[in-house]
């Protein structure tokens, strides 16, 4: 009856070995049935561990910061613009990029499950999938931002996009000042995962040395 014993999201002890056994049983059944090939599972896991991650999105953002025509294309049709870049993990049909400005801050959530733009950001972090984020983002986004140490001007409009369909959203954060003339590669190092979800801002130049 302890109040705080129930947060399994961060619990990796004995219960997980039960889960581990159960998942192993599941995989064995599916393999023996001929539904899946364990080697293909390995390849998927490898892709998410090594290829598909926020660096993909960061590259898109850095290009949008550097190339006005690409920025325009991205905001007009992100699926098309990003596909044209020839990404590792191809994006599907339903990517939408939304742009932060001094007057408007965008934040992405999926209250009903945990929809996330995997193709450009990789796997969602645990907090994105957690009940605190899913429940609060649409009601108290400034409180959520405070949990990330981010404080925005009182009069900035906060726009929360609840991903309730198959559309996926990518936030185009504001380009930090003091980055004139930077290459796309260098700019990409300023682009954090959280800045593309809207729970953070792009790094300042001094933060990346």
């Amino acid at each position: 009856m302890a109040e705080h014993d129930h947060d399994h999201d961060h619990q990796h002890g004995s219960e997980l070995s039960e889960t581990q056994l159960r998942v192993r049983a599941l995989e064995t059944v599916l393999t023996e049935k001929g539904y899946i090939d364990p080697a293909a599972l390995d390849a998927i896991i490898e892709a998410y561990e090594t290829k598909v991650g926020p660096h993909n999105g960061a590259r898109v953002v850095a290009k949008a910061w550097s190339d006005p025509a690409f920025r325009r294309d991205l905001l007009a049709d992100a699926s098309k613009a990003v596909s044209a870049l020839g990404h590792e993990s191809r994006v599907g049909d339903h990517l939408v990029a939304v742009e932060n400005t001094p007057a408007l801050h965008n934040m992405i959530v999926c209250t009903l499950c945990s929809c996330y733009p995997w193709e450009v950001l990789g796997l969602p972090p645990v907090w994105y999938k957690s009940a605190p984020y899913r429940s609060r983002a649409v009601k108290d986004p400034r409180g959520v931002l405070a949990d990330f140490g981010v404080s925005l001007p009182k009069d900035t409009e906060i726009r929360v996009w609840d991903s309730t369909a198959e559309t996926r959203f990518l936030v185009l954060p504001m380009r930090p000042p003091g980055t004139d003339g930077w290459s796309e590669e260098r700019l990409a190092r300023l682009v954090t995962r959280d800045s593309m979800i809207g729970t953070g801002l792009a790094k300042r130049p001094e933060e990346v040395a």
């Binding site: 399994h8 090939d37 998927i44 899913r134 309730t164």
Partner: protein, 218 residues
């Protein structure tokens, strides 16, 4: 269904706790679950909304105490059993005990290595779009006992159409094996005060992506 999964606006879950340098997976089994889900989807065993609906039907006590990948695993077991791909005895035994049910294809390493593209949800429109950007709409107050993507907090609310995303497969019917039933999809924006009352953050606007059957003109 008005399940625990529909948690937008619920109070009491506490602070958001980002984990510095979070690894892709916190245990090896998480990756296996993710990959199995992908492989079964590729094989055509079920569609994503069927998987979501299976999660939503978990007992609420389980839903909010299980981790994300635990929920996926539990939902996968449900779909396997309910759709006849395996039975409870096999899952308990950890071995196939009966012949397989045919699937349309099997995910191979080659396919994965070529880069898996996310499937398209666009479908042929059955009618012209009823709304256009700028239109005022009111979401319906619906409470289907089955899967829907109209969250409770946004029902019966006045909003404005911002984007038209084309015509998409309709999750409400897909999830219950009633087909794609294509519907126009819109981003609809609400004032925070419309959703949360006069005390809401006045700088807040929230949008949902709403299928046409969720909307009335306003």
């Amino acid at each position: 269904m008005d399940g625990i999964h529909d948690m937008g606006g619920m109070d009491g879950f506490g602070k958001v706790e980002p984990e510095p340098n979070e690894p892709p997976f916190h245990a090896a089994w998480e990756g296996r679950v993710l990959a199995m889900q992908r492989a079964m989807g590729y094989a055509g065993a079920w569609q994503i909304d069927m998987s979501r609906f299976a999660q939503e039907r978990l007992p609420p006590q389980v839903y909010i105490t299980a981790s994300y990948y635990q929920r996926w695993a539990l939902a996968m077991e449900r779909n396997l059993v309910e759709r006849g791909y395996a039975d409870a005895e096999e899952l308990a035994a950890g071995h196939a005990l009966r012949p397989a049910k045919p699937l349309k294809r099997k995910l191979t390493t080659d396919v994965v290595r070529q880069g898996m593209t996310r499937g398209s949800f666009y479908r042929q429109a059955q009618a012209p779009a009823r709304f256009k950007p700028g239109d005022r709409v009111r979401t319906k107050n619906i409470h289907p006992p089955t899967h829907t993507r109209l969250p409770r907090y946004a029902r019966g609310r006045l909003g404005v159409v911002q984007l038209v995303h084309g015509c998409h497969a309709f999750p409400d019917t897909v999830a219950i094996d009633k087909g794609d039933n294509p519907q126009w999809l819109y981003t609809v924006v609400f004032e925070g005060t419309e959703l949360w009352g006069a005390e809401a953050d006045p700088t807040l606007k929230v949008s949902i992506d709403a299928f046409e059957p969720y909307l009335d003109p306003a």
